[in-house]
Each structure stands twice: as structure tokens, then as C-alpha cells.
């Protein structure tokens, strides 16, 4: 079910032009048919796009089936993907490019493509460098702002003690620098705006099915295609491009369109950090249970503890993470290292972030690692241990040189299972730092490159967010299915691999013991 719904999302659907009995003509992609349970009327649903024309801003509509007069599939229908208002379905009328030097003659469709290419080139040449510069300046501004905050805080403390705050040259200099950069960035912003408005004057005129003409700035067109005119090859190409967009781009339209890159990245990063937190402890405890422990009260207690760790609801882990990591440890870190920001009411580590979320998940997955390690050690036949001891090895040497290398594949399966579990867990993340839209990745080009305090996005939470909290249920459905498909694939492939590996291993040792 998920497979069908998820895979079909990006296949360019044919756009039907439906003439209705009341003379109205609509363009839209056919979604499904249903019998209205109250009126027993056969109805069908169209994705009509063009959200800005609808008073309720809906882009999905139901029509009674017997009102269809004629259905056609005109090949010159354009589908435009836009950064807002969803898709646009319509026919190309004309292209106006006042700020570009382009031939004014020729077929509208050719001119449209040429103009679009030109606009994109312009965007890449003029606006993007400015944007890059701006983000650089913003980084500097933030850094200076932090420095100023620090100095001010120090001054305040010194002032409180000595009751006389000295004029600070550094501070004044920093302030001047800040002002300079601000002016510079303001200028750039203005420049960018001017460029953008100039580019926005290049519009394409599109006609909707009902004959209304809509001016669409070329810069607002993320992607266009003519599904009815596409052959299978073109459709496959489009499909591939959409998949690439999904994997590599940022989300648009409150997460219901565009890509999943930040969420995928966040998930991977989270699982990676969680592994660092989880595996050492898991291996230690597993080795203890498997090799060192002698049956007794302590071991029974450890076993009970392991089982309880595995059985504690994940939300309890989440609330523990919130209380202990975020407000406890995070608060302490803030007090020690960023007192100036904490005093200004801006917590750095004292709020949810990827570090705390992964530590919480690490604790949650520890039992999986413990059980896997113990199991892996147990499957090693006694003979290996006895042989090692007979050669005079200490217990640690036996463990380090003989047992652990042999148990590695088994442990690996456990780790993969733990990672799969972590990738699919959402509840504890919701309270320890996951957000629906993170402005920055936890890993980027700004010093110190890795920001464990940042909030992050996560595939599972993405599903929850768009399935549960999206205002436009119909429009968000495709994205939920795609995200679900991706998450399920990741988790199932991981756990499938782990299970396969384990079964192979079981065979290996069985043959060896005989």
C-alpha cells in the first residue's frame, strides 16, 4: 500500500480537461472515484491546482460523475511547480521579458523556455553571489554579537563587583564593526531586492481552463512540464529528477513539497551520534553479562535492569532526556561556558538539540546492543576460550584477541538493529529537539562546522508533522507516503540485513561446533 502510494507520487499524471454539465471547464489530475455514502452519488476527485483561484484555497475538488460532458487530454497543458500556492495547471499564452534581451518573436513555448533559462542564469549570476555574501556577513554578525554579549556580561559582573564599569575600547570597536557590517548587509539586501524585482518583471502569461489569465513571474517557476505531451522516456526522466529533488533539496510549502534532504541528513546524523553514545556502553555491559558475570544477585539485577531498559516506554526516555540532558546537563554547560547567553535568556545547550536527542536515543537502544553482544559471545563455542586460557592468556587477552573478533559480526547485527530502532523512533525526539523546519543543518561550513546544539529534522517526525498537523490534508498526502516509504525502506533494509546476517552467523557456528 505504502509502496504503491509512495512510488506513484512523482509519476507525472496526465492532466484532463473536463467539461462539466454546467458549462464550467476544469483542468486537473484525476485522483480517485468514490460513491458518496450519504447521497449515493458517484463522484470523482480532481487535483485542480491553482490554489489562488479558490476561495477556500483548496486544490482538490469533488465533482459528480454524471456531470461530465467531455474529457480530453490537451497536449499543451503546462504544469508549473511553484514555491507557493501549489501547482499551476494552464495553457501558455505569452511571455513578457522586459528586463531581458531576448527575441520577441517566435513560438511562445520556445520563448518561454529560452526566457526561463535566461532568468535562471541571471539568478545564478547576480542574486546567488549576493545571497552567499549575505550569509557570510550574517555569520560574522552573529559572532560579533556573541562577543559583544560576552564583553557586556563581563562588564556587568565586574561592574557589580567594583561598582564602576570602565569604558571599554574593545566593546566600542566591536560595536563599530557590527554597525559597519550591518550597513554593508543592508546595502546588499537592498541590492538583492532590486535585482529580484527586476527579474520578477519577466512573466509568463498562463490561461487557466476557465479562461482567466494569470501572470506568473518566471522566478516563481521551480519546475515545469507538459505531462500530456511527455513520452515514457521523458516521464522517466522527470521521475528521476523528482527523486533527486526529494533526496537533495530543501522542503517547500510547509514541508508538503520539495525535498527531504534536511530530514534525511538529520536522521543519519542522529543515528551516527547515537551509535557513539550507545555502543561502548552496550558492549561493556554485554561482555560483563556474557563473560565476566557469575550467576548471583548482581547479575540477576543487571538482567532485570536490561529488560527494563528495553521495556521503558520511549516517551519516558524522552522526558528523562528533557529533564536530565536538556535542562540538567545542558543548563550546566550553558552556565559554565555561555553564561552571557544564558543571562540574556538565549539557551545554547539548555534547549533541545541533536546532541541531547542522540544521547537519549543512545540510552534507549543500549539494551539492543547489550543483548546482541551477549548473544554473540554465547554462540562462540567453549573450546575457543579453553584453548586461549590453556595457552596462558589472561581473561582480557582472551576477550580482546579471540572472543571479540569472533563476536564482531554478531555484535554488528545488534548494532544495525539498534540503529534501525533509533531511526524509527520519534516520541523521545519530539521533546528533545526535533523541529518541523530547521533553518540550519547541524553540520555546515561555519566554524566549528559541527553544531551539536542545533535543532534538527527527522524523517519520522516529518511524517508525524505533515500527516497530523498539516492544514491541507489532501495536498500533504503524497509527501507523507513518500516520506513513509523512505523511512520504512531505511528501517526495513537495515533490520533485514541484520536478521540475514544473524541467520548466516548461526549457521557458521553450528557447522563449527560439530
Amino acid at each position: 500500500m505504502v509502496l504503491v502510494n509512495g512510488l506513484g507520487v512523482f509519476w507525472p499524471a496526465a492532466i484532463a480537461q473536463v467539461e462539466l454539465a454546467d458549462g464550467e471547464t476544469v483542468l486537473g489530475a484525476w485522483v480517485r472515484e468514490e460513491t458518496n455514502p450519504d447521497t449515493d452519488e458517484e463522484t470523482f476527485q480532481l487535483k485542480t491546482g491553482n490554489r489562488e483561484f479558490d476561495p477556500q484555497r483548496m486544490d482538490f475538488h469533488w465533482y459528480p460523475k454524471d456531470s461530465i460532458r467531455q474529457v480530453s487530454y490537451p497536449s499543451d497543458v503546462y504544469v508549473l511547480e511553484r514555491p507557493e500556492n501549489g501547482d499551476f495547471f494552464g495553457f501558455l499564452d505569452d511571455v513578457q521579458t522586459p528586463s531581458l534581451e531576448l527575441p520577441g518573436e517566435g513560438e511562445p513555448s520556445e520563448r518561454f523556455q529560452a526566457a526561463l533559462a535566461e532568468v535562471r542564469r541571471e539568478q545564478a549570476n547576480t542574486i546567488e553571489p549576493i545571497a552567499r555574501q549575505l550569509s557570510l556577513l550574517n555569520g560574522q554578525l552573529q559572532k560579533i554579537g556573541n562577543k559583544i554579549l560576552k564583553l557586556e556580561y563581563r562588564n556587568k559582573r565586574a561592574g557589580a563587583e567594583a561598582d564602576a564599569s570602565l569604558p571599554d575600547d574593545d566593546l566600542a570597536q566591536l560595536r563599530a564593526e557590527e554597525g559597519e557590517i550591518k550597513a554593508q548587509s543592508d546595502q546588499l539586501v537592498a541590492e538583492k531586492l532590486a535585482q529580484e524585482t527586476a527579474l520578477r518583471s519577466n512573466v509568463a502569461l498562463f490561461r487557466t481552463a476557465s479562461g482567466e489569465v494569470q501572470e506568473i513571474p518566471l522566478t516563481n517557476i521551480v519546475r515545469w512540464y507538459q505531462p500530456n505531451a511527455m513520452g515514457p522516456a521523458a516521464k522517466i526522466k522527470h521521475y528521476a529528477a523528482k527523486i533527486w529533488e526529494l533526496l537533495a533539496d530543501e522542503p517547500r510549502e510547509s514541508n508538503t513539497e520539495g525535498g527531504l534532504f534536511p530530514a534525511i541528513f538529520g536522521t543519519v546524523m542522529l543515528v551516527f551520534l547515537m551509535s557513539i553514545a550507545c555502543f561502548p556502553l552496550g558492549v561493556l555491559a554485554g561482555v560483563y553479562l556474557g563473560e565476566y558475570a557469575r550467576e548471583g544477585v548482581l547479575v540477576r539485577m543487571v538482567r532485570i535492569a536490561v529488560n527494563n531498559l528495553a521495556g521503558i516506554p520511549s516517551i519516558v526516555y524522552g522526558i528523562f532526556g528533557l529533564g536530565f540532558f536538556v535542562y540538567g546537563l545542558g543548563g550546566l554547560v550553558d552556565q559554565w561556558f555561555f553564561p552571557e547567553r544564558a543571562a540574556a535568556g538565549v539557551p545554547t545547550y539548555g534547549t533541545g538539540g541533536i546532541l541531547w536527542a542522540s544521547m537519549t536515543l543512545g540510552l534507549l537502544t543500549v539494551p539492543v546492543a547489550i543483548v546482541a553482544t551477549e548473544e554473540a559471545l554465547r554462540t562462540i563455542p567453549r573450546g575457543f576460550r579453553e584453548g586461549s586460557y590453556a595457552l596462558g592468556a589472561t581473561k582480557f587477552q582472551t576477550l580482546w584477541r579471540v572472543l571479540l573478533p569472533m563476536a564482531t559480526p554478531g555484535m554488528m547485527t545488534g548494532f544495525i538493529l539498534a540503529m534501525a530502532r533509533a531511526a524509527g523512533e520519534v516520541a523521545p525526539l519530539m521533546i528533545t529537539g526535533v523541529v518541523k523546519l530547521a533553518p540550519n543543518l547541524p553540520l555546515d561550513g561555519q566554524f566549528p562546522f559541527f553544531h551539536p546544539d542545533r535543532k534538527f529534522m527527522h524523517l519520522g517526525f516529518h511524517i508525524f508533522d505533515i500527516a497530523y498537523q498539516s492544514p491541507n490534508v489532501e495536498a500533504s498526502k503524497p509527501m507523507v507516503y513518500v516520506t513513509t516509504l523512505l523511512l520504512v525502506l531505511i528501517v526495513l533494509v537495515m533490520s533485514g540485513a541484520a536478521i540475514y546476517l544473524r541467520n548466516q552467523m548461526a549457521k557458521r557456528f553450528r557447522s563449527r561446533t560439530i
Binding site: 535492569a305 529488560n307 521495556g311 521503558i312 516506554p313 516517551i315 519520522g460
Partner: protein
């Protein structure tokens, strides 16, 4: 060479020892983490039940020449911005003095005397209402309402005085008679209501409405009426709400009366009752924040709260909460302007109580006579005129609204018709948060029960079949499939159940019940038919592990029958609308996100767990037992029922326990598929809110360290305790089982 070997040996031994300790530490850390989790979440909840504390925050001697008995009222405000304490003192000669108690400075004073009043007029009586408002009755019969407090930050700009004094309204008195007590209220829309109590029990209400007519002229409409006091003995206390719509009076023989005015000032409702059967005198009345509840203090030192409750369409004043009785008659009640704490003065002591939780928070017993008390609007500072001194106490009672009773017992909340278990934290009335955990715990149990109803039979039957009836090849295929099933993220299950299954079920809910009949029916029919087919060898060979091949179509047939029959049945029996019929016949509302949906979702999540553990337990029954049973001539069924199940029962029990633990704590599925309404209803067609979903829903909005935050941690403690119990029992049972079969 020799020494080298020695050092190597020594190093090896040292490493061995270090490793031993590190690894032991690893093992102990696991116990440590469980204990730490419990300790932390319990630690966060503990302040909920801490006793309230108070400490003296400042004192100030009365300015020279001022006699303590001339002070008619004291009050205090605490600035949110800098924590400064500003006390005010209303004296009989019409002065309001402001004092900064922290720096012990007199900030200034303000004459409260209305322009019309002459120099020698004195304040005869003061009535206090919430928010720093006082009604002053002057000796010439003039009645004025004033508001006293600290200026807010925005108002304070440009104005040097850090305090605020405002005369709200004033009305001239009647010629002749001088009232004993009087209240003047000014509502938001400018209408004033005054009530005067004269000796002899005469009660006069007057309402003035100022309206602007079409021409822009102001018109004053006045309405004056004598209130009906028949049947009442001498009135000892009166109180009115801030809007001037209801008036309450208490008498010396324990009667309470209520008058409610309509927009024009006419009496709409009159309600009088004997509040206390022992006819104790009512000594003081005060309206609580919100203007609905009335706090009543009596001569026995008891504090009670009352509000009108509807019985048979008629609202009657009803006793709601009874607080701990104190010594001596209650002489003064000062409610906090936010929340439900009541400061009262009885005898020579000051008491603080919380009305909803009925918790007695603290008593302050000063060493000398206390004449008057005041309370800050936030309810965190109390002030008293003690001897010749003004004394303020900081009160630290951050979680006064929580007690075992509010968490687990039914509470009569303001505006409700009976005591109820309610969880409601958002929405208008945050002055009385409803934090009963009962509906949430109930929801948890309900969801668990419904899902276990589905999961336990399916998982156990599956485990029995897989472990003892099927072929080894099939068994090898089933186990990974179940494990994969266990790996499906719960958010995915939640999404599928909520957005895909729920609408389908809404449509086919009747088919589900029809299926409960048709599937077993087709099954029975098949069994009868099978007895006939069984005679052939090919059919019989299917019975050794491949039954499912033939049962699958039977199952599908059963489902198909259900789907076929449903529309007809719905038309004939339920008028073509099962959901409508449900509502009419049982007033059961069908929610799309309901327990049946949850049963499927949670069931799917729990089945693999129960299955795996139960299957392990069944498979670990030594084969010798099965073999000897079969050798003695027992059938497969007899072997299963008499031999395998008894030996594996502890393991199966453990499986169910662990599955239960998982179902109790599952968050995402219930969060997405229940609608999260905290209700007490066993019905299968409505939703619920579970402990885990409750935490997930509320914690992002709970301020750190606040009551809600701590109560949510309490939810986590409950969840922890529940799952800890289940898991520990299961683990102990399994350990015993392992020992038993270890011997065999």
C-alpha cells in the same frame, strides 16, 4: 629477557584487572541508568507535594501619629520586573500610604477623599474585592470605589510615582440613614452597582448605566430597588462580584442569600438557604477570582467555598469545598487575584488554603495582635498589620493546586455540575487547572485492553502454530517476517492507522461486526466439508504443516461474505446508517479515531513482541516431552494442551506481560490515532488519551518547573512504574523458566 617476560606478564595482569573493573562498571552502569531515570523523574515530581514555606520579607513601623486602629485596610503588590514589594495602607482619615517594604521607605501618599466630601469625613467601612479594588463608605454616606496598586512598566514611564491610585466611581449617599456596610462596583462597560446595608436588615441596590445615545449625548439611567430580605436574620457580611451582577449576603444564623441582577439592575434570581445546619454565624464573605465562587468564613473558623449549581434547570448555591477549620471565627478572607488560594485571618493567626485541592498550605502565628491582612494579586506575598508594624511574608507555594485528591479523586470544579475527574490544561480557565490523572490512566488502560483483546489471541495462536504445527521451512520464513514486522517504526503505523485505516473502518465498521460472525461460520462450514475431503491422500498430506494454504482462501471467503452482506444488513436493520443508529439507540457517538482503530494499530505493534517471546518459550520446551507424549498415543492437540502449554505457560505469561508493557507505553500510534480526548468511557467507538500521548501533547507547552511540567513527569513516573512492574515480573518468570528447563 627474564625481566621482560615478567613485565609483560605483569602488564598483562594489570590490564586484565583494569578491564575487569571497567567491564563490571559497564554492567553496573546499566542498573545505574535505570535507577537514574527513576530518580530523575521522581525528583522532578517531588516538589509537587512539598509543604508550602514562608519567610519574612520586610517590615515597617507605622508612621508616627498613626494609630493602628485607624488603619482600615492593608494590601501589597509585588513587582514582576524587579521583585520590589509595595505595600499600601488605607486609613480612616482617607489617606492611602504607599511603602516600599524592601528599602523600608515611605513612597508617598494619596488622598482618597472625593471632591464632594468635607474635611472631617472619615472612612466608616471598607469592602475589598479582587485586583486591589476597595469600596469605601464615608461617614456622610458617600460611597466610592478605588483601585490601588503598582504602576505597570509602561504606565510608570513619565510618571514618577511607582504606584497607582485610581478612583473608579462614586455615588452620593441617601439623606438621613447611614449604612453599615456598602459595596460599589464598576463593570467593564461603565455601569456602576452599589449595595448598601442599613441597620435593621434593609438592603438597597442601585444601578446606574451610562449610555451614549445617537446624538452623542450621555444618558444616565438609574434604577434603585430594595432587596427582598424576608426570612433572613441580621446580615453580617456582604460580597459582590466585580461586574456587579451578583450579590451575596451571610447572616448571623448561618444563612446565605444570593441575588442576581440583570442588565437593567432588576433582580433576576433570589436564592436563600441555611448554609450551616448548626446555625453558626457567617463572619466574612469574599468573591474569589473569576467572580463565580464565594468564599465563606464562619464563627467556627471554617472556610467553605460555594457557587451556584444547576439542579433541574434551577441554579442553587451549593457548598463545594470545605477547607481545614481553624481556631476562632474567620474575621477576614482575602482571595488571590489569580488562582484559588485564600488568605484568611482568624483568631490571631493568618492561614493560607487552596480551595480546589482543599490543601491547608500554612499558618502564620505572629506574636502580637493582627488587625488586618492583605494578599498580593499573584498570591505570593502576604502582608499584615501586626501591632504597630506592617509585616510582609514571602510565600512559596508553587504547586498548591496539586494534591493526591486533585490528581486521583473527583473534584468539584467551578462551573461543573458535579464532582468530576477531568484533565484540562488549556482553554480559558487556567486559574483552575484540571489535573486529574484518572481519565488519562483510564485511557491508557482502555487502549491497552482493546489492543490486547486483538493481539493476545492472534499472537499466541500464531506462536503455537509456528512452534509445533508447521514445517521447519515455514518456521524459518515466518520468524524473520515477524521480526521485520516488529521493526516497522511506530510513527509509520500511527500514520497508516490514522489516515488510511480509520476512514476505511468508518465506512466498514458494520462489516467488522458482520465479519465476526461470517468468518467463524465459513470456518465451521469448511471444517465440515474438510471431513469429507480428508479421505483423499493429497488432502491429508496438507494437514502436516500446510493447512494455511487452504485456510487462506477460507478466510478471504469469510471476509468476502462480510463485505457482501453488510450493505444489506445495514439497510434492513439499521436504516442504512449504522453510525446514526448507534447514536440513536445508545447515544454512542462514532469518532473516526476510536478504540477499534487503536486496537488494530497497537495490536500490530504488540503482536510481534508477544509472538517472538511466546514462540521462544514454546520452542524451548524440550522435545523429549513432546516425543514421549506423542509416543504414549496422545494426539497433537492433547500434547499441546496437556504437555506443552503447561510447561511453557510461564514464558507465555511473560510474553503477555512484556506485550502489555509495550502497549501501555506506546506513544506515536495513540497520539496520531486516538484524537487525544481525555474522557472516561469504555465505549469502543470513541477515543481516549493515554499517559504517553498526554506527555507528548502537553510537555512542549509546559513551562519548566511549573505545575503542569511536574505533573507530566508524574505521568512518566506512573508509566515507568507500570512498565517496570510488568517487565520485572516477566523477567523473573523467565529466569525461573530458564532454570527449570536448564535442568531437564
Amino acid at each position: 629477557m627474564h625481566t621482560d617476560a615478567k613485565t609483560i606478564l605483569r602488564r598483562a595482569k594489570r590490564r586484565d584487572a583494569i578491564a575487569r573493573w571497567v567491564i563490571l562498571l559497564g554492567g553496573v552502569t546499566v542498573i545505574g541508568s535505570v535507577v537514574a531515570i527513576l530518580a530523575l523523574i521522581v525528583g522532578v515530581t517531588l516538589p509537587l507535594f512539598r509543604q508550602a514555606q514562608f519567610r519574612e520579607a520586610g517590615r515597617f513601623g507605622l508612621p508616627g501619629g498613626q494609630r493602628p486602629n485607624e488603619v482600615v485596610a492593608v494590601g501589597i503588590d509585588r513587582s514582576v520586573a524587579d521583585g520590589s514589594l509595595t505595600a499600601h495602607l488605607l486609613t480612616a482619615d482617607g489617606e492611602c500610604t504607599f511603602i516600599d517594604l524592601l528599602s523600608q521607605r515611605r513612597l508617598g501618599s494619596q488622598s482618597m477623599r472625593p471632591e464632594s466630601a468635607t474635611r472631617d469625613k472619615k472612612v466608616v467601612s471598607v469592602e475589598r474585592s479582587t485586583g486591589g479594588r476597595y469600596s469605601l463608605l464615608w461617614s456622610d454616606g458617600f460611597l466610592s470605589a478605588v483601585e490601588v496598586g503598582i504602576g505597570s512598566a509602561s504606565e510608570a514611564q513619565g510618571q514618577t510615582a511607582p504606584y497607582k491610585f485610581r478612583e473608579l466611581a462614586g455615588v452620593a449617599g441617601e439623606e438621613g440613614a447611614q449604612p453599615l456596610k456598602a459595596i460599589l462596583c464598576r463593570s467593564e462597560d461603565g455601569a456602576t452597582t452599589s449595595v448598601r446595608l442599613f441597620s435593621g436588615g434593609r438592603l438597597i441596590a442601585e444601578r446606574q448605566v451610562t449610555t451614549e445615545n445617537l446624538l452623542g449625548e450621555t444618558e444616565v439611567k438609574a434604577q434603585k430597588l430594595a432587596l427582598d430580605t424576608t426570612g433572613l436574620t441580621t446580615i453580617t457580611a456582604i460580597a459582590m462580584d466585580r461586574e456587579g451582577t451578583s450579590l451575596y449576603a451571610g447572616t448571623e444564623s448561618g444563612q446565605l442569600a444570593r441575588w442576581q441582577f440583570d442588565g437593567d439592575g432588576n433582580v433576576e434570581v433570589r436564592d436563600a438557604l441555611t448554609a450551616f445546619s448548626d446555625r453558626r454565624a457567617i463572619t466574612s464573605l469574599a468573591m474569589m477570582f473569576g467572580g463565580v465562587s464565594l468564599a465563606v468564613g464562619d464563627a467556627r473558623g471554617e472556610l467553605t467555598t460555594w457557587f451556584p449549581v444547576r439542579y433541574d434547570g434551577k441554579a442553587r448555591l451549593t457548598r463545594i469545598h470545605t477547607l481545614k477549620a481553624h481556631e476562632g471565627p474567620v474575621e477576614q478572607i482575602v482571595p488571590a487575584s489569580r488562582g484559588r488560594t485564600l488568605l484568611s485571618r482568624s483568631g490571631n493567626a493568618i492561614h493560607l488554603d487552596q480551595a480546589t485541592s482543599e490543601r491547608h498550605l500554612l499558618s502564620i502565628q505572629p506574636d502580637s495582635l493582627v488587625r488586618n491582612v492583605g494578599f498580593s494579586p499573584q498570591g505570593n506575598v502576604a502582608v499584615a498589620l501586626k501591632g504597630r508594624e506592617l509585616v510582609a511574608w514571602e510565600i512559596d507555594a508553587p504547586h498548591a493546586e496539586v494534591s493526591w485528591r486533585t490528581l486521583f479523586g473527583p473534584i468539584f470544579y467551578e462551573g461543573y455540575e458535579r464532582p468530576e475527574y477531568a484533565w484540562q490544561t488549556t482553554g480559558g480557565d487556567d486559574f483552575e487547572p484540571k489535573l486529574s490523572l484518572v481519565p488519562v490512566i483510564f485511557g491508557t488502560l482502555k487502549g491497552t485492553v482493546y489492543s490486547m483483546l486483538l493481539a493476545v489471541p492472534l499472537a499466541l495462536l500464531g506462536a503455537v502454530y509456528t512452534s509445533h504445527f508447521t514445517t521447519p521451512g515455514l518456521k524459518r520464513a515466518i520468524k524473520p517476517v515477524v521480526e521485520i514486522m516488529a521493526a516497522v517504526p511506530s510513527v509509520v503505523l500511527g500514520f497508516l492507522v490514522a489516515l488510511w485505516l480509520a476512514p476505511i473502518l468508518e465506512h466498514w465498521i458494520l462489516a467488522l461486526f458482520v465479519g465476526l460472525a461470517t468468518i467463524p461460520a465459513t470456518f465451521l462450514g469448511f471444517l465440515v466439508a474438510w471431513q469429507a475431503v480428508r479421505r483423499f491422500q493429497w488432502a491429508k498430506s496438507l494437514e502436516n504443516g500446510y493447512e494455511f494454504l487452504i485456510l487462506m482462501p477460507v478466510l478471504i471467503l469469510g471476509v468476502g461474505f462480510a463485505a457482501l452482506l453488510t450493505p444489506g444488513i445495514e439497510k434492513i436493520l439499521f436504516d442504512g446508517n449504522f453510525r446514526g443508529w448507534l447514536y440513536e439507540a445508545f447515544t454512542l457517538r462514532y469518532d473516526q479515531r476510536n478504540c477499534v482503530v487503536i486496537a488494530f494499530g497497537l495490536g500490530f505493534a504488540v503482536i510481534p513482541i508477544i509472538f517472538s517471546i511466546a514462540e521462544d518459550a514454546l520452542s524451548s520446551v524440550p522435545y523429549s516431552l513432546t516425543a514421549s507424549s506423542l509416543a504414549l498415543g496422545a494426539s497433537r492437540w492433547q500434547t499441546l494442551w496437556r504437555v506443552i502449554l503447561p510447561s511453557a505457560s510461564p514464558g507465555i505469561f511473560a510474553a503477555v506481560m512484556i506485550g502489555l508493557g509495550r502497549a501501555v507505553g506506546e506513544t506515536m500510534i495513540v497520539l496520531m490515532a486516538t484524537g487525544n480526548t481525555p474522557i472516561l468511557d469504555w465505549g469502543p467507538f470513541n477515543g481516549m488519551r493515554t499517559l504517553s500521548a498526554n506527555i507528548a501533547v502537553e510537555i512542549p507547552e509546559a513551562p519548566v518547573g511549573g505545575t503542569l511540567y511536574r505533573v507530566l513527569f508524574l505521568c512518566a513516573v506512573l508509566l515507568f512504574a507500570l512498565t517496570f512492574l510488568l517487565n520485572t515480573v516477566a523477567e523473573l518468570v523467565r529466569q525461573r523458566l530458564r532454570k527449570r528447563f536448564g535442568r531437564l
